[in-house]
């Protein structure tokens, strides 16, 4: 058998076999990636061996022995590092959720105002956007934290705010809720949600089949008030408040006992993140609205829709297709930017876990990997949710 023929037939099989042709480059890529990561892992383990460092996750079960300023779950220094991780993660999710909530509201309002025909309104929105998106976030964070911190009064000088809370340099002290039969109240809330969804569906069917309109908003609102009220009157639910109370700790040091304190770090971080990200969302909203043809609005007007209805029924559904994908990016940015918290002492995942815990255990590789994986999972969850939402609101071509 001569070599020339063998090669030829090999090339022949390769060219002929489309499956192989498609499969081979991918196979090589996978092998290369595995090899590269394997090399890094091997290299790291050899070097760690040389320096007398071992690798493992057993430390997660050990006692953390440090305290955390602000936690959504029960935590003390005798809890484990795994628990400290959870505290940090929940704090990150909390500030990201608050940030996304306010950034979306401010962004939509500013984005729409940017297109207003009122000179004052659109100029103010324009200035807001240009100022806030062009200053580095970290500086804004320091501004909100230190400037605002200096403006807030000491506990003993604080005036009562909204009749029930105190806004001081040490935090915003609000009454704590003390519930009795909380579960019955929660059931009533679930019942409200279900019935509102039912009413909305019924109203849509009515509109489609008979052209009648139900006052959905009024019905929903009254449901929202009546059902929980019934749970109080009949279900035996009671709610009392634990009001914060000024106490003196020394000649000039005062604090509050009772109530719940919202730390200034959380407020500053949430404010900085939402005001910064809102500018980008506002621009996404503006782009989305401008992307809807002028004729659409005119057609809606000629059908007799009010400007509000035009925006809600004609412009927004089309604009959202353009708005959602770039806004998803902004949500992801906001979540990742929340890691700047470490600069102003908000105990987020980076400060608690990739900061204190890493320092106390010295397990840099393990902790940084876990932190990276966590942010990756958070971001991917947001992406998946937004993609689902995007698909849901996409115009269904019939």
């Amino acid at each position: 058998m001569d070599i020339k023929n063998t090669t030829k037939s090999l090339i022949g099989t390769f060219e002929g076999n489309k499956k192989l042709k498609r499969f081979l480059p991918q196979f090589i890529t996978v092998v290369a990636i595995v090899f590269i990561f394997g090399f890094f892992a091997f290299n790291a383990s050899v070097n760690m061996d040389n320096r007398g460092i071992d690798f493992g996750l057993r430390f997660l079960g050990e006692e953390s022995s440090f305290d955390i300023q602000f936690s959504l779950i029960e935590y003390s220094g005798s809890s484990s590092y795994a628990r400290a991780y959870l505290v940090g993660l929940l704090n990150t999710i909390l500030v990201a959720s608050i940030g996304i909530f306010f950034a979306t509201i401010i962004g939509v309002v500013v984005g729409i105002s940017r297109l207003s025909s009122n000179y004052l309104i659109y100029k103010v929105s324009e200035w807001y956007i240009e100022i806030f998106r062009n200053i580095p976030l970290l500086l804004q964070l320091f501004f909100w934290y230190f400037a605002v911190l200096r403006l807030l009064p000491l506990p003993q000088n604080s005036e009562i705010l909204l009749g029930f809370s105190y806004l001081t340099i040490k935090g915003w002290y609000v009454p704590a809720f003390i519930w009795n039969n909380l579960n019955i109240f929660l059931y009533s809330v679930i019942a409200v949600i279900i019935s509102i969804i039912f009413v909305r569906n019924y109203a849509r069917k009515l509109q489609e089949n008979q052209g009648k309109q139900l006052p959905v908003l009024a019905i929903s609102l009254s449901l929202l008030i009546i059902l929980p009220l019934l749970s109080f009157l009949i279900g035996g639910v009671t709610l009392s408040f634990d009001h914060p109370e000024l106490i003196q700790l020394s000649d000039t040091i005062y604090g509050f006992r009772g109530g719940v304190s919202i730390p200034p770090e959380l407020m500053a971080l949430a404010a900085a993140l939402s005001l910064y990200t809102a500018t980008f969302i506002a621009e996404c909203v503006r782009a989305g609205i401008m992307g809807v043809g002028k004729g659409q609005k005119e057609a809606a007007g000629s059908l007799g829709l009010t400007p509000g209805q035009t925006l809600k029924l004609v412009v927004m559904p089309q604009a959202l297709r353009i708005i959602i994908p770039p806004t998803t990016n902004q949500y992801l940015n906001l979540t990742k930017n929340s890691s700047l918290a470490a600069a102003i002492a908000y105990p987020d995942l980076v400060l608690v876990f990739a900061g204190t815990a890493m320092m106390q255990t010295g397990r840099a590789i393990e902790i940084v990997s876990i932190t990276m994986l966590t942010y990756l999972s958070l971001s991917i969850s947001i992406s998946i949710f937004m993609n689902w939402y995007n698909k849901k609101i996409a115009i269904k071509e019939k």
């Binding site: 340099i169 000039t252 604090g255 600069a343 400060l351």
Partner: protein, 346 residues
């Protein structure tokens, strides 16, 4: 003739190269870190991001402080020039990773020597260059003069990534006081937040409190409480596994302390060469072969003393004269009632 001369020269050149490689290899044969330091002609030293008295840079990036002087001493011993140091300002969080990953060769950054750090994370502590303890600072007008007056609800500002966080918990828990810890990544933000009134007390090592107090808007409005709640022996750290380098750093520090004990200063070191006392003569390199044992030249300790000075000079220059801690307290020689007691250099 010309040819003979030429071949003689080339022979000499080759010999010189081989010889120089030979001596260098001898000196550095046991230590990779020493070899790298000589090759790079600089000591890579991790310091703080700015703590007056310990490691602080001025406007033209000249570093000063007692921690800085340890690195300068090593540079004087190994390279013969105390200025051949490259400083790497590190946060508390980054410091150990920078050392274990090989980015720096000495960590001289007011770092507390503890069992878990020494044993766990690939580090070796070589000695103590400052005996410290954790304390509290409060505003003078608060009327608090002792930690026994602390009450539940107090908020305390501090740095993350230090033993301070752990000591603080031990202290407040043992007294049954509930407190609010506010932990920042950088010292500047801790001071700013405390100064703004966010916290009632600021806690860290007492030397740090004294140093940061000088940075405040009105230093006289704050006092450091007398109680010390922990032992904080601060000292230089090296990577585990390079024993020769570890010895060099340890004895560079020890020489500074021993020089003070024998009254050798940067100004009188050269005249001490003709001293009667053999211990002094060994320290200034006119007797014995102490340098060779470390793989260094015999003038290593002389260079340290003349270029950096003894421990007392370093303390006076960096800590006492700027008014940070004029009283040496435990950082006095054992002969004068302090804790500084180093093994003999012989």
């Amino acid at each position: 003739m010309k040819r003979t001369l030429k071949s003689l020269f080339s022979f000499l050149a080759v010999f010189a190269v081989v010889f120089s490689i030979g001596t260098e290899a001898m000196a550095a044969k046991k230590s990779k870190t020493l070899k790298n330091t000589i090759k790079k002609d600089t000591v890579r030293c991790g310091v703080s991001q700015g703590l007056p008295g310990f490691s602080n840079a001025d406007a033209s990036n000249n570093w000063t402080g007692v921690d800085v002087d340890v690195c300068r001493a090593v540079a004087a011993a190994v390279l013969g020039d105390a200025n051949k140091v490259t400083f790497y300002p590190l946060s508390a969080k980054e410091r150990f990773t920078a050392l274990t990953s090989g980015e720096i060769d000495i960590l001289s950054r007011n770092t507390t020597w503890t069992l878990s750090r020494d044993a766990d994370i690939g580090l070796t502590f070589v000695g103590v260059n400052f005996y410290d303890g954790q304390g509290f600072m409060v505003r003078k007008d608060s009327g608090i003069t002792s930690t026994s007056q602390f009450k539940s609800g107090i908020s305390a500002c501090t740095n993350i990534g230090t033993t301070t966080e752990l000591n603080m918990r031990d202290f407040f828990n043992s007294k049954g006081i509930s407190y609010e810890p506010v932990a920042f990544e950088k010292a500047d933000e801790v001071v700013a937040a405390y100064d703004a009134g966010r916290c009632d007390t600021y806690t860290t090592d007492k030397s740090g409190l004294a140093a940061q107090r000088t940075k405040m808007k009105d230093p006289d409005a704050h006092i450091v409480l007398p109680e010390t709640i922990s032992k904080e022996p601060l000292g230089p750290v090296v990577r585990q596994g390079d024993n020769v380098w570890e010895d060099i750093v340890r004895w560079s520090l020890n020489v500074m302390i021993e020089a003070e004990e024998y009254g050798i200063t940067s100004s009188n070191a050269s005249s001490m060469k003709s001293s009667e006392n053999p211990a002094i003569k060994r320290l200034v390199g006119s007797e014995g072969e102490l340098g060779a044992a470390l793989g260094l030249g015999n003038d290593w300790s002389y260079n340290i003393i003349t270029q950096v000075g003894n421990y007392g000079e370093s303390y006076k220059r960096n800590i006492a004269d700027p008014g940070i801690l004029p009283n040496r307290g435990p950082n006095q020689l054992w002969t004068k009632g302090g804790l500084l007691y180093v093994p003999p250099a012989r």
